[in-house]
């Protein structure tokens, strides 16, 4: 069992309360992604879980054991850092071996584990190289190799892919997902990239200013964001947030509409005339940035074959069965079941 239980964990740096006391439960075997804007305290929370930062209050339990103040090495965790944090003076092999050596694992067993990890991560040909002679993706794999040979109960990742280019990032995403499937170990993964969160997680924890805004599966967050913040943060292109008369009529302070829930030339009771400002032809779809008088700016996800008329005006209608309503505090208003 390696579930993680966080109870009232808080952290302040000087006068600034970076993380007000928060509770979090990470079930055994889950791939939990902490996501939120830059500076919201994701890394701080992760570092407290790792034992690299001491919390000011609260309890941290890993696998039923209180590890609030335990040394990082005694927690049964392994961490992968954004900068890879490889030992520059050691070869790839020595990098992976270091933790095993410190734990006094016998040489034969060390060899075996390194060989296994190297095979899984395609590092065999690189074992005698030093980190400086590796590409970013290779370095990240070494960092992951270093983590898996220690058989941790919990993997911690702090933005492990953000130093990679887009193509490599997509590839590593797949590899990480496979790794999780193969090992079945609990993983906590920090990112500020919501696409990464959506593709990797079975549970997403959305954070904002040190607080947890919402916890749920990617689809739950997408389909029923609990707050305006989550609504705007999850999903690309962003959800349209509309106020004014349109919201009022629906009994809300703000109304959210996903770009795919706006129909060009649709047959709805509500019809808007939208002035096109920018068109992005992405191939499988076309994103239209438009403005509607008295309603606001809209992002519309349309067919790739969409034609823009000469006067740049489109008739757009919202899918009223898919609106998200929020009250004055930004909390979701559940629609009455009809």
């Amino acid at each position: 069992m390696s579930e993680l239980n966080i109870d009232g964990l808080g952290k302040r740096f000087g006068k600034v309360e970076v993380i007000p006391p928060l509770d979090l439960h990470v079930p055994n075997g889950s791939f939990t992604v902490l996501v939120g804007p830059s500076g919201c305290g994701k890394s701080t929370l992760l570092r407290m879980i790792a034992g690299l930062e001491d919390p000011d209050c609260g309890i941290l339990e890993l696998g039923g054991r209180d590890v609030t103040l335990a040394e990082p090495a005694d927690r049964g965790i392994a961490m992968v850092f954004q900068s890879y944090a490889l030992y520059p003076h050691m070869t790839v092999e020595k990098n992976i071996e270091f933790g095993l050596r410190l734990a006094r694992v016998p040489a034969s067993e060390r060899k075996e584990k390194i060989a296994k990890a190297a095979e899984a991560l395609q590092l065999e040909a690189l074992l005698q190289r030093k980190p400086a002679a590796l590409s970013g993706g290779q370095r990240q794999r070494v960092a992951i190799g270093r983590a898996i040979v220690r058989d941790p109960k919990l993997f911690l990742f702090d933005e492990p892919l953000s130093n990679l280019d887009a193509a490599l990032r997509a590839q590593m995403r797949v590899e990480l997902a496979e790794l999780h499937k193969r090992l079945g170990t609990t993983m906590i993964y920090v990112t500020h990239d919501q696409v990464e969160a959506m593709t990797l997680a079975d549970r997403i924890v959305v954070m904002n200013q040190g607080r947890i805004e919402q916890i749920g599966s990617p689809l739950e967050l997408y389909e029923a964001p609990a707050s305006l913040f989550v609504a705007e943060f999850i999903g690309a292109p962003k959800m349209n947030i509309l106020g004014g008369k349109f919201a009022e009529e629906l009994g809300a302070a703000k109304v959210g509409l996903r770009p795919e829930h706006l129909f060009v030339n649709g047959q709805s009771s509500e019809k808007w005339t939208a002035k096109v400002r920018l068109v992005e032809r992405l191939g499988p779809e076309t994103i239209v940035y438009a403005r509607v008088e008295d309603v606001g700016d809209l992002i519309i996800r349309a067919e790739s074959s969409l034609e823009i008329p000469g006067d740049s005006e489109l008739s757009v209608s919202p899918d009223l069965s898919n609106v998200h309503c929020f009250d004055g505090h930004g909390s979701r208003i559940e629609k009455e079941l009809s």
Partner: protein
């Protein structure tokens, strides 16, 4: 094939006008005296004047068989080894300590740095006050007040050697500390944190991660402080004047005493012979300078 037109070189836009002032100073105050020292070492020039004669390698033959020079050389080696070793360990220790976010570390850093900024002559006088064997000496007064016997800090040959080494360690620790502190601050924090999560205790992180990463810097610091310590004479001059007897005379001090003074100044005033000693010191320094360049100081594991 079109040929790339080379930009016309204009002397005034090149590096030379900028380098010239420094080069001039280096030539006048460094290169020329150095060269002249080699010339003087082959003469019997004296402070007291008179026509200097070319005497070939006689000065070198003399110092090679001079017991005074040999004792000084032997002491200098011991002195350098202990002083460099001591100040390195202390400097690294202090750097590690002051790299931690402790209260008032700026104050400590500044305080320690002072010992490096003060000239060696003054350091010698400060330690003479501390080690004065009468009741005016700070240490002996302290010993006295707690009922301990005073120590012959400077009049016993063994204690004098220890005292000189301690004083020089005190003086050069700051240099190593600043050097190492600078190095520690460039260390990637995530690498050290990775070592922590890998299970490395503080001493293991020091031994297996920090020291290897600082290797080029450590080599530099050791070589610099070896050169500085090997050539020291001001500290000796003001602290012990090489005594008691010749117990604390370094090659540098021997050179100073041989070359200057004369005519009642206490020294011998034999500029030619002193220059020969200077040349011998230059050779030793040169060896270390070459070591410095070859020590892989310029190669790093980082990219």
């Amino acid at each position: 094939m079109p040929v790339v037109q080379r930009r016309k070189k204009n002397f005034w836009r090149g590096p030379w006008p900028w380098l010239a002032p420094t080069l001039l100073i280096l030539i006048v105050f460094r290169a020329y005296p150095l060269g002249d020292q080699f010339r003087l070492a082959l003469t019997d020039m004296r402070v007291s004047g008179g026509e200097a004669q070319y005497i070939g390698l006689d000065n070198f033959y003399f110092i090679a068989s001079d017991p005074g020079y040999q004792t000084a050389l032997f002491f200098t080696i011991i002195f350098t080894a202990f002083s460099v070793g001591g100040s390195f360990i202390l400097g690294l220790g202090l750097a590690l300590l002051l790299n931690e976010p402790i209260r008032g570390r700026v104050v400590y850093r500044t305080a320690i740095l002072t010992s490096w900024v003060i000239s060696a002559i003054i350091v010698g006088y400060i330690w003479r006050l501390l080690l004065n064997e009468s009741s005016a000496g700070v240490f002996n007064a302290l010993f006295d007040s707690i009922g301990l016997q005073g120590v012959n800090w400077l009049s016993s040959p063994t204690m004098a050697v220890v005292s000189v080494i301690v004083a020089d360690v005190w003086r050069s620790t700051a240099f190593t500390m600043i050097f190492m502190l600078g190095g520690l601050q460039t260390l990637p924090t995530e690498v050290l944190e990775a070592a922590r999560t890998d299970g490395a205790k503080a001493w293991q992180r020091l031994l297996f991660v920090i020291v290897p990463l600082l290797k080029p810097l450590i080599a530099t610091a050791l070589i610099f402080s070896t050169i500085a310590t090997f050539n020291v004479y001001e500290l000796i001059l003001s602290l012990t004047s090489g005594g008691p007897g010749n117990a604390t005379s370094t090659v540098g001090f021997e050179m100073f005493r041989t070359a200057f003074g004369g005519d009642g100044g206490g020294g011998l005033g034999l500029i030619g012979r002193g220059a020969a000693m200077g040349v011998s010191m230059f050779m030793v320094t040169l060896v270390f300078a070459i070591l410095y360049i070859r020590a892989g100081v310029f190669s790093r594991d980082y990219d």
